[in-house]
């Protein structure tokens, strides 16, 4: 099977293009997705190829176009909504929360909402308090949808294709700073299954569970620990909800130590949830209490010195790993 070297943005573009070719019900809607070719160029060339009925530039009207896409999904189409950033989804929170994630249940199973909502999540480079939110814990509190957050080009393409074929809403979280990350991926078509995590580095002594951009810092911290003879296993969740607790439990049964890392806030965060699930599933396999590294309890400050301190960084992750062995 031939390989191609692509950036994450190109992997996402290929997923959109392939699924639009495969299913004429699939369309892309959002701000600047068409003539501008996407704020981050994920949709480059798609308007020229598929035309304005399938690649729709919207007004700055997230509540309106999100609801429109949900209505379209209920009536036979398969929309992909691009948020220029997930921060802007808050304007559409009513449509997401009141309609998208509960329509199937509320209607007694009459209506499905096969929709993908995608865009960049979390912090970028000094975009400050209102443009740096991690939304997975906020939206993850609600049943009725899936939350996917790939960390590399291979998973980004395979998971987006799976998300578009999924019959429920999928919140698809990307990262502005990672769009340019390159990777060799197959030239042939493939799918990555939703709900499955992956061990991206095997180890014996402790398990790190994380996802998305934080994995880079986790890998750096694990290498630092290896200098001292510790062997660290790293799990990439890939799907945040539902979480692949079986994979996590299997790893902890081997390592007996676990650190959880997320970019978002500490209180009621993803680590809080997974930590509790670990207690439910494999409490007796833990030799020491869990550790977690999360975003500190501040809005995102502008100054890069402060920004680096509030986001989990390799130093804080390494310190937490060391605590596992004290």
């Amino acid at each position: 099977m031939g390989l191609q070297t692509v950036e994450i943005r190109e992997a996402l573009r290929q997923a959109l293009d392939e699924e639009m070719a495969r299913d004429e019900r699939v369309f892309l809607i959002g701000e600047e997705v068409g003539e501008y070719n996407g704020a981050y160029k994920v949709s480059k060339g798609l308007l020229d190829k598929w035309g304005p009925m399938r690649v729709l530039d919207t007004p700055i009207s997230e509540n309106g176009f999100t609801g429109l896409a949900i209505g379209a999904a209920m009536t036979g189409l398969r929309p992909v909504v691009e948020y220029m950033s997930w921060n802007f989804s808050f304007v559409a929170a009513d449509q997401l929360i009141s309609n998208a994630c509960k329509m199937h249940y509320m209607s007694g199973g009459r209506f499905n909402v096969p929709i993908v909502l995608r865009g960049c999540n979390g912090s970028a480079a000094q975009v400050s308090c209102q443009h740096s939110h991690c939304v997975e814990a906020i939206y993850g509190n609600l049943p009725g949808w899936v939350i996917v957050s790939p960390s590399n080009a291979y998973d980004a393409k395979g998971l987006l294709k799976a998300a578009i074929r999924f019959n429920n809403p999928v919140l698809f979280l990307e990262n502005e700073l990672d769009y340019g990350d390159k990777m060799d991926i197959p030239q042939d078509e493939y799918i990555v299954e939703i709900g499955k995590g992956k061990v991206i580095k095997e180890g014996r002594d402790a398990t790190i569970v994380s996802y998305s951009r934080m994995l880079k810092s986790c890998v750096a911290a694990a290498r630092e620990m290896e200098k001292n003879g510790y062997s660290i296993e790293i799990i990439d969740l890939r799907t945040v909800k539902p979480v692949d607790i079986a994979l996590i439990a299997a790893s902890i049964r081997k390592t007996h130590r676990c650190l959880l890392v997320e970019e978002g806030h500490r209180f009621a965060g993803i680590c809080a949830e997974i930590g509790f699930q670990i207690m439910e599933h494999c409490f007796d396999d833990l030799d020491v209490p869990l550790e977690r590294v999360c975003q500190r309890e501040t809005p995102m400050p502008y100054s890069k010195v402060l920004e680096q301190e509030t986001i989990p960084n390799p130093e804080r992750i390494t310190a937490a790993l060391k605590r596992l062995f004290n």
Partner: protein
């Protein structure tokens, strides 16, 4: 000159008809005789019967609520029956429809049975949404809800209109009902902008019952009449219709649908109406004077339609009473059905959160 005085020029108007003429605002004008001829006696009686079924269902639903059989919120459609009945009579039931929490009537008109609606109110397994939705969330194959955040249904309906256009479905439109209170929501304005911008076959119907819960429309909405003002902002046509008059509603929706299908442009309708109850069952409506309520109830859409049909020798008082009793019996049978139906299995609680 009012449309009614022209249409009925051969007969002196009764007091009730005078009330039905409405206030000094410019309603949509139409030819009553043409509507009567077009629909014919059988269809007219069938539509009156539907209005009576809605009325009886609401009365018995409220009684069941008072008896502790129905929980949550209960928003009655009593007083507003002519609007959605006229709409479905004019347009048929093969479009997309979306409405508010005040959704019992539209579900009935689009084919939900009294049994399944009453069972849903009772929270039973046999209910319209298997006991998951309740009073505010009824659905049919063509009804996208029963959506209960004020204004939140308007983008959904706009999406259905988009879907019709995307799939090139001929002869179809998306009807969206909302209260005048929803006009203050951004979702409404964003939807109208998108529908106009993209030439979507959407028919937005503001059912202006003059009260957003206990807040009078003129204390909440800056313009009056609403549709005439706001349609201009979005380069849309508007129609303002007497929402207590089945015939006017029928004619207005017929025209609106024809215009939308011909132009593939959205339209904004304002149906002037009155609810005879509070906002919901827990609202005694003390903000509304007795005179206003009495005045509103004298324009009862069912009484008005009955009067016209009697004037045209299509109905007698006796036949009307019989029709009313038949609808009452259907609803009482639905109450019995709901009572006798099983509760949802608690084992099934977590089923249906995700579609297969």
């Amino acid at each position: 000159m009012d449309h009614r005085s022209r249409a009925w020029e051969n007969q002196p108007p009764t007091r009730l008809e005078m009330m039905a003429i409405g206030r000094d605002k410019s309603f949509f004008t139409f030819d009553l005789q043409k509507v009567i001829d077009e629909l014919g006696c059988d269809a007219l009686l069938a539509h009156l019967q539907k209005m009576l079924l809605i009325r009886n269902l609401e009365i018995r639903g409220e009684a069941a609520y008072q008896n502790g059989k129905v929980g949550g919120f209960y928003h009655s459609y009593i007083g507003q029956e002519a609007i959605q009945t006229g709409c479905v009579a004019a347009a048929g039931d093969q479009h997309w429809y979306t409405t508010t929490y005040r959704c019992h009537a539209l579900a009935l008109l689009l084919g939900a049975t009294p049994n399944e609606i009453m069972a849903e109110l009772f929270g039973k397994e046999t209910g319209n949404a298997k006991g998951r939705g309740g009073s505010m969330h009824l659905f049919t194959d063509r009804l996208l809800g029963g959506l209960a955040i004020v204004g939140g249904q308007v983008p959904i309906a706009t999406g259905a209109a988009f879907s019709i256009k995307y799939q090139k479905q001929k002869g179809m439109a998306s009807f969206c009902f909302l209260g005048e209170g929803a006009v203050a929501q951004g979702a409404f304005h964003e939807s109208l902008n998108l529908a106009s911008l993209w030439n979507l076959p959407a028919i937005y119907v503001i059912e202006n019952n003059h009260w957003g819960m206990g807040t009078a429309a003129n204390r909440a909405i800056a313009v009056d009449p609403i549709a005439d003002h706001l349609s201009k902002s979005y380069d849309m046509r508007s129609i303002r219709v007497d929402g207590m008059d089945f015939f006017a509603c029928y004619a207005a929706f017929k025209e609106a649908l024809a215009v939308v299908l011909k132009t593939s442009r959205p339209i904004l309708i304002e149906a002037d109406t009155q609810r005879f109850r509070g906002h919901s069952i827990s609202d005694p409506g003390q903000y509304r004077s007795k005179e206003e309520l009495r005045w509103a109830m004298e324009r009862d859409p069912i009484a008005l339609m009955k009067t016209v049909l009697i004037l045209h020798n299509m109905l007698t008082e006796e036949e009307f009473r019989k029709m009313d009793l038949e609808q009452r019996d259907k609803v009482l049978a639905a109450v019995s059905f709901a009572e006798a139906s099983p509760w949802p299995s608690t084992v099934s609680l977590e089923e249906g959160v995700m579609a297969p």
